[in-house]
Amino acid sequence: MPPDIEAIAEQVFVALADPTRRAILAALASGGPATATDLADRLPITRQAIAKHLALLAEVGLVTAEPGERRRVRYRLRSAPMQVAQQFLAALARDWDDRLDALTRQLQRHSGTASSG
């Protein structure tokens, strides 16, 4: 596996564990690219705090800064790391235990026996 895949997933989960960063990511997901000032207008968080979180999110690749003048830099959500985290969650959600229990019950029904699987 690529050496960085686990680090990518971990950065997503660390980012999502913080309510302020969740709010920022959710705002970018629902409203599209925005400046720190736009986000400060929309969220109950100071511009300074938002700038600090955006810097962290950009550092780990969850948002990307579009070129622009300092105060007009717009931040855009990067979906690729989220897709890596989704893979991690997908593995946890596969639930072969329930499936194999269902298979066992199905075979018992069909054979008409009451043997334990």
Binding site: M1, Q87, W96, L103, S115
Partner: protein
């Protein structure tokens, strides 16, 4: 953290391999435990289509058929976008165990992600909507 790339389970079933094989590889068998509806084109390269009532549907591509001992397919990683090309590989192995069958299922590939695919996914997604919206603007301007 431990990225879970491989899932493996083994169950002992009190049924002969032929019964288990039928439950894994026929539409009737699969519809009884895996999904609610199934269609099976049982050949390597063929597809298994599964649907769940009021839920998702999935399309599996059959990769290995060695009756009655090995059945393998690849399928979409649930939770990822429909157009995501990544797939996991599922292999069922059936071994005789007394009068019954020892069934092992191994699913691998959750942590697959070559660097170029990662780059492509990133580039594709960052440009995706912006360029599509740009094309829409051009289209409307030209009209």
């Amino acid at each position: 953290m431990g990225f879970p790339d491989r899932i493996e389970r083994t169950v002992e079933l009190a049924h002969p391999r032929a019964s288990v094989w039928a439950a894994l590889t026929t539409a009737e068998g699969l519809a009884g435990w895996f999904g609610n509806e199934a269609q099976v084109d049982l050949r390597v390269g063929g597809s298994v289509q599964m649907a769940w009532t009021g839920g998702p549907a999935t399309d599996m591509r059959i990769e290995r058929i060695e009756e009655p001992s090995v059945f393998g397919f690849t399928w979409h990683i649930y939770g990822l976008p429909d157009d995501d090309p990544r797939r996991t590989y599922v292999e069922f192995t059936l071994e005789p165990a007394g009068d019954g069958t020892r069934l092992t299922v191994v699913e691998t590939g959750f942590a697959q992600l070559p660097e170029d695919a990662y780059r492509k996914a990133f580039d594709g997604n960052t440009e995706g909507w912006a360029s599509e919206l740009g094309e829409l603007v051009e289209y409307l301007n030209a009209a």
